[in-house]
């Protein structure tokens, strides 16, 4: 039983953090979902999808961001400070991966238990229902879930697979396989991402990265793990100078140029407070609109932003530029329950310092942080 003193102390911590947050954030909006989500996926500049991951039935929700956040100059016109549910539906199983097909109102999901995919219609203005429209059989017998990638194309297509040996590009309308990645290794994938209209990175949990092109059946360029560790996460930045970051569960961060994956542009050692063990424990993402910055969640109870500007070839300890502690601060229970963890986070595609993050207690935050160096 939590004593009164403890309750008061927790309240104090919350109040302290609130005052602190006025300085460290330009905006901060907090939302509480009934059930936690493991995915946050942009479906437009103003909307995201979230979904439950419990073993039974789960909700899939499309949320609109607080208008007050998006308004900028015209903030005065927008009273709405909350997320608004604009569309919703139900999934029979957990949703571990959800990808929006750009240019459509379609989404593709995977339940993390095998490599089958479910197809969804996110709904239009005339309905608030997200409904399942079909499914795609998986490409392999797998106990890990599939990763999914999509990019804008003339006909809706999805790149998916649970292992490096079973990645394929499937046309949604016909179910036709347009491309298969020719790799023998059956290493589980940590991510799949398009780096151009036809080129993509298939990143494995062991740190191996394959760079391939859907136009050619030639074998992909393989890049071995950049260090001694058995669990890695990868992200590739957008834009002409594509940088790839690989992060290990021990906190080793290696940045390479896409065209020279064998070498490392720079390295650093990040501080690890938790011990991530599963692929879904950690999210690492380049900032779409902040050169050289990336974010990571899962190494501690916070979302951390790093700036690689000062990083060198020789690995050195790196400190975060900014840390979002909102989820851990507001989840103090004192009742012996497990500490909460960040399940996922994403950057806003255009606003340089806006992110969304979700935690295991069902909280979803959208925050626009102030660069401490300009304060």
């Amino acid at each position: 039983m939590m004593g009164e003193t403890e309750a008061v102390e927790i309240d104090d911590i919350l109040d302290d953090w609130f005052i602190e947050s006025l300085k460290s954030y330009k905006d901060l909006h907090v939302y509480q979902l009934e059930h936690p989500t493991q995915i946050i996926e942009w479906t437009s500049g103003k909307t995201v999808c979230v979904a439950g991951y419990s073993s039974g039935k789960n909700e899939i929700l499309e949320l609109r961001l607080p208008l007050k956040l998006l308004a900028d100059e015209k903030k005065g016109l927008c009273a709405e400070r909350d997320f608004k549910v604009v569309h919703g539906g139900f999934s029979e199983g957990p949703v571990c991966c959800l990808r929006h097909i750009p240019g459509t109102r379609c989404a593709v999901t995977n339940d993390g238990l095998n490599s089958d995919l479910q197809l969804w219609d996110l709904g239009a203005d005339d309905t608030d229902v997200i409904r399942k429209t079909g499914s795609l059989p998986g490409t392999s017998v797998s106990q890990t879930g599939s990763r999914i990638a999509a990019r804008l194309s003339s006909s809706p297509e999805v790149l998916h697979g649970a292992q490096s040996s079973a990645v394929q590009l499937t046309q949604l309308g016909t179910g036709q396989t347009l491309y298969r990645l020719e790799v023998d290794s059956t290493e589980p994938l940590s991510s799949l991402k398009f780096v151009s209209e036809t080129a993509f990175l298939a990143s494995c949990c062991d740190g191996t990265v394959y760079l391939a092109d859907t136009r050619t059946s030639a074998p992909p360029q393989a890049s071995p793990p950049p260090g001694e560790c058995t669990l890695w996460w990868t992200d590739a930045s957008a834009g002409p100078q594509c940088r790839v970051i690989r992060l290990s569960s021990s906190g080793q961060a290696v940045v390479s140029d896409l065209r020279n994956m064998g070498g490392a542009v720079c390295r650093a050692q990040l501080d690890v407070q938790t011990s991530p063990r599963k692929p879904e424990d950690v999210t690492v993402a380049w900032a779409p609109a902040l050169d050289g910055c990336f974010s990571v969640s899962g190494l501690s109870g916070l979302v951390q932003i790093y700036d690689t500007a000062g990083w060198r070839a020789e690995p050195q300890d790196a400190s975060p530029l900014f840390q979002h502690a909102g989820h851990s601060v507001s989840s103090q229970h004192g009742d012996g329950s497990a500490p909460i963890f960040i399940t996922t986070h994403v950057w806003h595609p255009e606003r340089p310092r806006t992110l969304l993050s979700a935690a295991s207690d069902g909280s979803v935050h959208v925050w626009d942080w102030v660069d401490p160096q300009t304060n």
Partner: protein, 345 residues
Amino acid sequence: MTCMKRIFSKTRRITVGRLVGVTLTSGRCFHAELVRTESSGLPIVHHSKYVCDLPANHRFPMAKFPRVLHCLLQDQVITERQVWVPEIASKDLLGAVHTEDYLNNFISGRINEQEQRRTGFPWSEGIVRRCRYETGGTVLAAEVALQRGLACSTAGGTHHAFPSYGSGFCLLNDLAVAAKYLMNSSSRKRKVLIVDLDVHQGDGTAFIFKDEPSVFTFSVHCGKNFPVRKQQSDLDISVEDGLEDKEYLSTVAEHLPWLLETFRPDLLLYDAGVDPHWEDELGRLRLTDQGLYQRDHYVMKTVVKRGIPIATVIGGGYSRDINKLALRHSIVHRAATQVWRECGM
């Protein structure tokens, strides 16, 4: 006679022109650099030193104080002749509420990092000075209200300050200092009712007067807003997010008349915070400009009609559009001007 000496000895700050018309009525004197006893208009209390410099991009809308006055003058709601100028609050005045240690540390800049963080302000001599002037302004407004019936400061409402520490942009508790001083400044102890309609609970004030029967603290606030850790006012009304004009006004109307009837205050201090407004960045209620005006008019008219003196402070408001915010804060002064007229004051 000591009063006369106090006013006339400040010849550095008061020009000869302003001395014309200074009268002393019934031996009352004011903690003022400039009195306006010759003016028959609504007394407004303002000091140019209500502001200080803050680091660029600081979240506290410091510039609002002079802008409130400016927009009232520009819109010809008031004239300069109505503006009383307060003295800086002395250590003695402050010491009736704040601890000696805190005051010494506060004035000399020995507030540690952690304490500063909780206040939201980096310490500076400027911030000390402006807080003291602001507190002096609330004291003066209360003094003038006792004499004229109604007076409005263009600042004030720093209700999160506790005796030994500051919090939430509040470093000194102006309402508490004013209440304490006025409570004791007459031969018979005065009863003071503090009506705090800022969207955040007046926790500092509640704490300071929890054992003082002569001061009644009444706070209407949004439950989910800061502070999470609430104190216990004499009457707390915690309202739900999203409350709109009609329900909010009826909540105030439900309690104010019976409070006045049963407590029978000799003075009312009114925190007219505008952060219940729907555009406020921190507040979670949905009042409109009209709603705020109706609220302020209702409170002041109800109190004045019962012959109870009332002094108002502007309370909290958070918006990055300073002009809009200043205009919003000036609603209480406009409503007061209307009440002044309606009640033939």
